[in-house]
Symmetry: C2
Subunit: 132 residues, 2 copies
DNA sequence: GCAGCAATACTCGGATATGCGTTGTCCGAGTTTACCCGG
DNA sequence: CCGGGTAAACTCGGACAACGCATATCCGAGTATTGCTGC
């Protein structure tokens, strides 16, 4: 029960992209180097964010990644769900007669956490230097 | 990023122990059979709960496990921490100059979840049939 | 009856598989830019 | 100068390897109860 490193990479990368120019893309090499990850692995992670519609990739020379959606809209939960998936953290596959009351409690707890992550936007942390 | 099955087993077992007699222990075989787990594996999990001071084991014939602490005191978080550990769900090992603002947000979210788990006691779910 | 001994029913802990998800690496393919070279 | 072709700089995606962790399984050791046996 831990968040994966991929989520950490994704969050930090998104923070960098939010702080950067929304026009000129940033190469995956630069993003990876800053975080000390291999570029190929980071690109795998970013592909998931592309599919989630958060960022877009630019092919070719001077290519890279840049924001796609409005930066004000992107929440922590969006990123986490894109990487970790949206399935419940706790799954009781044990067959009770009815619904599992333990599962219900766990689900409530999870929703408390998600509520906070949904209410926190990436912009809340981004430095304001690029107000274009 | 998922809760382990061990946590599921631990929670269900604790619920059974809370509902059972606080004097007569329940054998691990019975506990395991009800949940469809191997007894040896379940005993490994329960050992962690013993070390956490929540239950105690009774050796020998007619042995098994029974509650140790007052059943009103045991929260979901106690059990989860005993199984999953108490380390933060999100760890940013990436060296920023200062503290990681992303980590701070994640920690807040985690605390929201923990607060709910700490406020929910096992007794809230236990059937009341065994009022001694 | 009763003391003692053995069998039985349990838990405990370590050592050891096993499967799966995370974390990477490698490479060929596709795409855009930059550059060079001949007219 | 200008157009075209080639090289370079990128991302994309699949295949594959390494590793750790969750999930067990097995077995010997320890412990308490039960039952039996002999006095």
């Amino acid at each position: 029960m831990k968040f994966t490193k991929a989520t950490n990479y994704a969050l930090h990368t998104m923070l960098m992209l939010v702080a950067a120019s929304p026009v000129k893309p940033i190469g995956v090499q630069q993003l990876a180097e800053t975080q000390g990850v291999s570029p190929t692995y980071l690109s795998k992670i970013l592909t998931r964010l592309v599919k989630a519609g958060m960022i877009e990739s630019v092919s070719g020379a001077n290519g890279g990644y840049r924001l796609f959606r409005n930066k004000e809209d992107i929440t922590f939960l969006d990123i986490i769900h894109a990487i970790e998936g949206t399935t419940s953290l706790f799954e009781c596959n044990f067959v009770h007669g009815d619904e599992c009351s333990i599962q219900a409690v766990m689900k409530e707890a999870e929703e408390k956490m998600e509520l906070h992550l949904r209410n926190t936007k990436l912009m809340d942390l981004a430095p304001m230097q690029t107000k274009v």
